[in-house]
């Protein structure tokens, strides 16, 4: 599975899922591993699958056929490729959150 650069619509979908798991005060010097760990620890299985589905473009059924570490690698690559911090920042600036 390869992580893709998302179109705006899907990028915003991804941001809306991950928004709640990304701390506004993320330290610029934080370890990437801690950052990903914080997300993976809190995210629900469905959300995780949905994120990978958006990032890879594969169906959820196809994702389930993959080995877990490939799925995780794809997820991490997707966050990197789509500059998730900038994306979430942008998403928040639009005021699209339900509780906004």
């Amino acid at each position: 599975m390869k992580a893709k650069l998302l179109n705006l619509q899907n990028a915003l979908r991804l941001a809306s899922i991950l928004d709640k798991y990304i701390d506004e005060k993320t330290n610029a010097n934080a370890e990437a591993l801690d950052f990903v760990s914080a997300i993976v620890d809190k995210i629900t299985p469905d959300e995780f699958l949905h994120c990978v589905n958006l990032i890879s473009g594969e169906t959820k059924e196809a994702i389930k056929q993959q080995i877990s570490i490939d799925t995780l690698t794809c997820f991490v690559e997707g966050l990197r490729e789509n500059q998730i911090l900038s994306l979430v920042s942008f998403y928040r600036s639009l005021g699209l959150k339900n509780n906004a």
Binding site: N7, L8, E31, A32, L33, K64, I67, F90
Partner: protein, 1010 residues
């Protein structure tokens, strides 16, 4: 197989759990900073877990883990490989029924071995990890020590460089001073200089054993030493003196005196060699001087001669046609059926059939025949047959006469009644033959004789006899056409026909070229001569002295007497033959000044034969003379080859240049077409949008009207209902009042009823009015909205049009940039090719001279002189070529374009030579990105603000910002964010710039592409 809905959560949960476990594994790995064994153990666990999902394939699992781990933590592949090895070891042990972790499981020996190997492995890994840690720590902390090492290394390099420079200087000093020891080629000398001291004793001992004993045994000791010296010199390349000096060190006492004598005698011989070499130098110098001038002549003469010959041929052709035209007019006036068209066509056909005559030659013969025989009643066909017959007989008769001469002979015999034969063709017109032919053709009856024929009949009979003779020779002509001689003639004819055609073209373009050519020839002669003076002066080291004279000659300025004498003095060193090579026929030189000079010098030389030629050796042998001649010929051939190569390069360069220009033209055309199409699309979109707006507005107005109508109907119904109710109420009240016989009440009721009716009617009118007003207001608003939308659509279209114009300009700029880069590359290529030609010529010349030197034992000092001569010659060669092309270019626009195609294009590129900087500096005013695999300089921001980021590719890095974007915007306010949307082909969008967030200004940049 698809999972059932019930399984979905389980699998997804499992995937997430696995992910969490993997992440936790990495975290553990990161935290175990002091225990490398533990680290490997953790990685091993991750690999094993992943392998479990991959059917137990540990190697594959390790690959996957390596990618994953490196992506997030920078764990190196080596660490994963170590963990893999551990996992594989464990797997093997488990497969063998053992487990290294549990004592007592499996047999004791195996367990111990396994445990030992595991411990060793862990220990080894620990050592490696410790070493790595220490190394890393050292790199991080011990900067001072590293600098020291670096400085030491640098100092080492500097010392080495200095040593090299010192050696170089020693070599240069030696080269400048030690001329005596340079009697050999440079490389050999270098080698020998270093090792002569060792080489001489070694070679002498190898060839002659104990040198003292060898000399002692010889009857003639001096002769023996000479043999030794020559032999050692041949192998070591050392000079007589140098070899003698080394040999002296090997001998003692009585052998020294004959050795000194031998050295002295060989030195005497050396003097003779030097004289001969001096002579060689002079000859080569002269040859090269002549060659340079000849080089100019070769190409220029080829041009001039071709055009001159072509034009002369074309003029002859025209002359023949003119004569033919006169003949045709004369014949037509006499009533003979003849046409210019028929004659020229017939002539062409004859030339085509016979192949060995040019069209012009046949036309000339035909025009002679037509003019000569016009008044004697020969038809067009007869004239053509006669011409063809004469042409055939001219080839097969072996008379040695030209076509024109034979035509004259034939015509004379035909016209003259007394003509009894055509002597040159051995054709007789005797009484018997004439009578027989006349009888055969019915000109006379039986019993009559040829003498009874009229003059005209006489000519016709002779003509028929001539044709019979021609027919008898047709087979011979066929055989002749198959001979090699005929084939060569055919080629010549083809060339002649071609050059006539070219000449005709030139005649059409420039009716009077002869003056131009004469002018040109004069200029070429003058330039040629000036070039000769320049070269000779330079070769005689008098270039500065003669420079003003040469300039004057180039510009055609008259020389003073003193200057004239100086030139004569200078050229007196040349042989007449050399001058004649440049100006083969001095009498035909059109430039008066040049002709006088050349004639004077040649004459002076011819009349002064009794004086000894300073260039000739005292007693040159025939062998020596032949060798010089051969050398000269070969040098000339090299020059000719160089000219050819330059010519080919010029043509090739022109072709490449034309292709680059054509590519650009096509690209610009494509861009034009593409953007014209885009503009059309834009216009169509706008029109569609305007139409949509109009339809939408109309629809809205219709809806409003329809609504208004519905409201009106509802109001009317309500009004009618109200009226009905009022009436019913009134009737009921009236009925009550009538029953009560209350007249006052009746009247009041009637009055009340009328009032209610009026009020209801008034209300209805008011409602109607308000509705109408509302409708009008709504329609007006809809129309205003329409206007607003139209303006918006027009603004949008104008903006898009502007964007298109910018995009188009960018593409045009890119195409021009590409062209410029290609031209730069072409220029570079051309320069390299030029250098290659020059190098090749130089190499060949050097080779020839070297061979000559080797054969004639030339002294090294003269070798150097020769080398310099060649270098000068090559430089002159190029200068002469450039000069020549420029000169030709000034005379002809056609040639100018040919030259300009290659030369001005190359010269006028504003080429910027690469700087000394080892890397190019990239500019990014238009944006862009590159992968730098070495230290790279770049310029940005030169045309305004630009965003710059640098991302290392060989290591992922652990900084969250680098990996996942900038976090600086989170939690702050204000600023700007740039989003790039690539609408095609994959509808991509990305945040490409993010400075701040929350209330950020969002700038969307949309790129649309096919």
């Amino acid at each position: 197989m698809l999972n059932t809905p019930g399984q979905i959560d389980l699998i997804a949960t499992q995937i997430l759990l696995d992910a969490q476990a993997a992440i936790r594994g990495l975290e553990l790995f990161n935290r175990s900073t002091d225990d490398a064994g533990k680290k490997v153990e953790i990685l091993k666990s991750i690999i094993e877990r992943v392998a479990a999902q991959m059917g137990g394939d540990l190697a594959k699992a390790a690959e996957v883990v390596a990618v994953f781990a490196n992506g997030l933590t920078g764990i190196k592949k080596g660490a994963v490989e170590a963990a893999l090895a551990l996992a594989q070891l464990n797997a093997q042990m488990l497969a063998g029924g053992s487990n290294p972790k549990f004592a007592g499981f499996g047999n004791a020996q195996e367990t111990n071995v396994a445990k030992e190997s595991y411990d060793n492995f862990a220990k080894h890994t620990q050592i490696v990890a410790d070493f790595q840690d220490k190394k890393d720590t050292w790199f991080e902390k011990d900067a001072a020590n590293q600098n020291k090492i670096f400085e030491q290394t640098q100092a080492g390099y500097v010392a080495e460089e200095q040593a090299v420079a010192k050696l170089q200087k020693q070599k240069d000093d030696w080269w400048a001073k030690d001329t005596a020891n340079q009697n050999k080629s440079f490389e050999k000398t270098i080698a020998d200089y270093k090792s002569l001291e060792q080489a001489v004793p070694r070679v002498a001992t190898q060839n002659f054993g104990n040198i003292n004993s060898y000399i002692a045994q010889a009857t003639n000791k001096v002769q023996a030493w000479k043999g030794v010296i020559k032999s050692v010199m041949a192998e070591t390349g050392g000079s007589v003196e140098a070899v003698g000096t080394q040999l002296k060190k090997m001998v003692s006492g009585a052998s020294v005196a004959p050795l000194n004598k031998a050295v002295k005698e060989l030195g005497g011989n050396f003097e003779n060699v030097a004289k001969k070499s001096k002579y060689s130098i002079d000859v080569i110098r002269t040859a090269l001087g002549v060659l340079t001038a000849m080089l100019v002549n070769i190409v220029l003469s080829a041009f001039v001669n071709f055009f001159k010959t072509s034009i002369q041929g074309a003029m002859d052709l025209e002359k023949s046609l003119w004569r033919l035209r006169n003949a045709e007019i004369a014949l037509s006036q006499q009533g003979v059926e003849i046409s210019m068209k028929g004659l020229t066509k017939g002539a062409e056909e004859i030339a085509k059939r016979l192949e060995v005559f040019t069209s012009q030659e046949i036309l000339e013969a035909l025009s002679d025949a037509s003019q000569g025989l016009a008044k004697f009643g020969f038809t067009e066909q007869q004239l053509l047959s006669l011409t063809e017959g004469v042409a055939i007989m001219a080839k097969v008769s072996n008379s040695g006469k030209t076509l024109e001469q034979i035509m004259n002979d034939v015509m004379t015999s035909l016209i003259s009644p007394q003509g009894k034969s055509i002597a040159s063709l051995n054709i007789g017109f005797g009484e018997v033959v004439m009578t027989a032919k006349a009888l055969e053709k019915g000109f006379i009856k039986a019993g009559e004789a040829a003498s009874d024929l009229t003059a005209e009949e006489n000519r016709q009979v002779k003509y028929l006899i001539f044709l019979d003779e021609v027919n008898r020779n047709i087979d011979t002509m066929g055989e002749y056409l198959d001979t090699n001689t005929a084939k060569i003639e055919k080629n010549t004819v083809a060339w002649k026909n071609f050059s006539d055609t070219v000449g005709q073209t030139w005649n059409n373009l420039i009716p009077d070229m002869s003056n131009t050519f004469e002018y040109m020839q004069k200029n070429i002669e003058q330039m040629n001569f000036a070039q000769l003076i320049s070269d000779t002066a330079r070769l005689n080291k008098k270039a500065v002295e003669f420079s003003p004279i040469v300039t004057k000659m180039f510009w055609g300025i008259k020389l003073t007497k003193k200057e004239t004498h100086k030139i004569i003095d200078l050229l007196s060193s040349m042989k007449p033959n050399d001058i004649l090579k440049i100006f083969p026929d001095p009498a035909k030189i059109k430039n008066d000044q040049v002709r006088e000079f050349v004639e004077f010098i040649v004459k002076l030389k011819e009349t002064a034969t009794e004086l000894p030629d300073p260039l000739l050796p005292p007693h040159p042998t025939q062998e020596e003379l032949d060798a010089f001649d051969k050398l000269q010929e070969e040098l000339q051939q090299v020059a000719k080859d160089a000219v050819k190569a330059y010519d080919e390069l010029r043509i090739l360069t022109k072709q490449k240049y034309a292709k680059i220009e054509l590519d650009l033209k096509l690209k610009l055309k494509d861009i034009d077409t593409e953007f014209a199409q885009k503009l059309e699309d834009l216009e169509r979109e706008l029109q569609q949008k305007l139409q949509d707006i109009a339809i939408e507005t109309q629809q809205k107005i219709d809806d409003l009207k329809s609504q208004a109508r519905e409201d009106e109907m509802r109001s009317e119904l309500e009004f009618q209902q109200r009226m009905k109710e009022l009436r019913q109420q009134f009737l009921m009240d009236l009925d009550d009042a009538l029953h009560a016989r209350d007249a006052r009440q009746v009247l009041r009721l009637i009055k009340q009823y009328e009032l209610d009716k009026k009020q209801a009617l008034d209300k209805k009118k008011l409602d109607d009015k308000l509705r109408a007003e509302k409708l009008a207001t709504d329609i007006k608003a809809a129309k205003l909205e329409e206007q607003r939308k139209i303006q918006e659509a027009n603004r949008e279209a104008a903006r898009k049009e502007q964007e298109l114009a910018i995009e188009k300009q960018r593409e045009i700029d890119a195409a021009n940039l590409k062209r410029r880069q290609e031209l730069d590359a072409l220029k570079l290529w051309n320069e390299q090719e030029m250098k290659e030609i020059q190098r090749h010529s130089l190499e060949k010349l050097t080779e020839l001279i070297d061979a000559y030197n080797a054969e004639w034992d030339t002294h090294v000092q003269y070798q150097k002189d020769i080398a310099k001569l060649i270098a000068d010659y090559v430089a002159t060669n190029e200068a002469a070529m450039a000069h020549m092309y420029a000169y030709m270019a000034s005379l002809y626009t056609g040639i100018s374009s040919m030259y300009a195609g290659a030369q001005s294009m190359i010269g006028g590129l504003n080429y910027v030579a690469p700087s000394n900087s080892p890397q190019s500096i990239y500019g990014f005013a238009e944006g862009g990105s590159i992968i730098a695999d070495k230290p790279t300089a770049a310029i940005f921001g030169e045309r305004g603000r630009e965003l710059v980021t640098f991302t290392p590719l060989d290591k992922t890095g652990r900084d969250v910002n680098k990996l996942f974007g900038d976090t600086s915007g989170i939690g702050t306010s204000g600023g700007r964010m740039l989003i790039e949307m690539l609408l095609s082909p994959d509808l991509e969008a990305r945040v490409i710039e993010n400075s701040l967030s929350r209330t950020a200004e969002i700038v969307a940049r949309v790129s649309r592409s096919k």
